[in-house]
């Protein structure tokens, strides 16, 4: 039985006066891939932001790797081993590709070379400023950047958004490879056909609450229709 890497219990989060999360819970075990699902605006990104301490929970607990991280600042959580690929990429616009990759680099198996192997396109463009990259290139960069921090848990928020099918396949291949190496991953993605086969667990949110947790096989068409609209 592997250890629990991340456990989120009943968190509530506000954006100013308006509440976005009303009780989200989820767990990620070591080496597991967990899919976080739900319709638009249900709180997936907010959950991830809270895990990375870009938003603060007003209630509930977040444990990462055995440590309570509720009160920790963002950078400390990251150092514990959370690697974020955020929604909307957010590459450092005024840095070159390579500078983006080394900016937050930490020692570990993911070196610059390995990232370039995974995404040769980035190597081609390594001296180009990030804000001039195409959308897809930026997405690769965001993933590569998270990998160079050598995280225990890789968090992907819509990492395949806007990518060409071939690249998307590449990224899914990369995710699979990462999984095979035992990388724990928390992932949000809209293309269920690619997501479900690699997920060990699914967590579904609705209106800021965890409404269903289970294995992909247990996600019946009925449930999918009810919570995801497919």
């Amino acid at each position: 039985m592997s250890n629990i890497l991340l456990s989120i219990k009943d968190i509530e989060v506000f954006y100013g006066p308006s509440q976005a999360l009303f009780g989200v819970s989820l767990e990620v075990k070591e080496g597991e891939v967990v899919a976080l699902m739900g319709r638009n605006g249900m709180g997936k990104t907010t959950t991830i932001r809270t895990l990375c301490k870009m938003s603060k929970p007003t209630k509930g607990d977040i444990h990462f790797d055995g440590t309570l991280v509720n009160k920790m600042p963002s950078h400390k959580v990251a150092k514990l081993g959370v690697g974020l690929v955020p929604e909307g990429r957010r590459c450092f616009a005024n840095l070159t590709v390579e500078e983006n990759l080394v900016a937050a680099q930490r020692d570990g198996e993911w070196t610059l070379e390995k990232v370039y192997q995974l995404f040769p396109r980035l190597e081609e463009r390594k001296d180009q400023l990030a804000n001039t990259l195409s959308g897809g290139e930026q997405q690769m960069l965001a993933i590569g950047r998270a990998l160079t921090t050598n995280p225990k848990l890789l968090v992907l928020d819509e990492a395949t958004e806007g990518l060409a099918p071939v690249i998307r396949e590449e990224i899914w291949r990369a995710v699979k490879a990462l999984k095979a190496q035992g990388q724990s991953i928390l992932i949000v993605d809209k293309s269920l056909s690619e997501l479900l086969p690699i997920a060990d667990h699914c967590v579904i949110l609705e209106r800021g609450e965890t409404v269903w947790t289970g294995t992909p096989d247990a996600l019946t068409d009925d449930l999918a229709d009810r919570y995801l609209g497919v």
Partner: protein, 250 residues
């Protein structure tokens, strides 16, 4: 007459330093059709859209829209001339409610932005058409929510509503499906399917389900060049396209 393309792009070029983003691109958009533009990331699709709507100036080439050469017109003029676009990354007025964002498009369409005295709130000539546009993208319930508080997917919908409210003669949509959940994508496909009869659509999209079910024609851009234009089947079966772009999605 009716089959005269509404938008003609002729030999358009754009380079960034040594990089050629669009390379002698020629294509057109006919009335009533959805013309999908696909291609690998970085192929120059968004660049092309930006050139068409005047956000980027072209190195050479021509854009003819509705019989008019757009040379020398800036973004606002081209929008007024009837080019309605959405941005690949949502670009909205964040401190306005969804409704007021759309009202802005309505007032632009009415050409009344230099009125200084009448209060816009409760001005039916603005709110009604704006509400109608929001309704069409299923965002009417969120009309009074500030844009900054909308989720990513909702912002994508709002982008489309704003384009709709302009009542344009052609749509340029840069990845409208991106960020929409599976359900949202499904609905949007149905919606665009009808929309093409109001105004033709130049559609950039990486969602092949959407492209294959919607497109009348597809052009494939690779390294800034159009390597193929044709029907869905032509493109699906084109080995070059499969290799450069589609992979197993074909």
């Amino acid at each position: 007459m009716t089959n005269q393309p509404i938008l003609q792009i002729q030999n358009l070029n754009k380079s960034f330093g040594a990089l050629t983003a669009t390379d002698d691109v020629t294509l057109d958009l006919k009335r009533g059709e959805i013309h999908a533009l696909i291609g690998p990331n970085g192929a120059g699709k968004s660049t092309l859209i930006k050139q068409i709507c005047g956000q980027l100036s072209s190195d050479s080439g021509k854009v003819i829209f509705n019989g008019r050469d757009l040379a020398g017109m800036d973004m606002a003029e081209r929008a007024k001339a009837g080019l309605g676009r959405t941005f690949q990354v949502s670009s909205l007025v964040m401190e306005f409610s969804a409704l007021r964002n759309v009202m802005l498009a309505v007032q632009s369409k009415l050409g009344t932005s230099y009125r200084f005295f009448k209060n816009v709130r409760g001005d039916k000539s603005l709110t009604e058409p704006a509400m109608a546009a929001l309704k069409r993208v299923n965002l009417e319930e969120r009309a009074d929510v500030m844009t900054a508080e909308l989720s990513h997917g909702e912002r994508r919908q709002l982008e489309i509503a704003m384009a709709l409210a302009l009542d344009p003669k052609a749509f340029l949509l840069d990845e409208p499906m991106a960020g929409m959940g599976p359900e949202g994508s499904k609905k949007l496909i149905g919606f665009l399917d009808d929309l093409r009869h109001e105004a033709p659509i130049l559609l950039i999209e990486h969602d092949m389900d959407a492209v294959f079910s919607l497109a009348d024609r597809i052009s494939v851009l690779v390294y800034g060049r159009v390597i193929a234009t044709g029907s869905v089947d032509d493109i699906r079966n084109n080995p070059a396209v499969r290799e450069a772009y589609l992979g197993s999605a074909a």
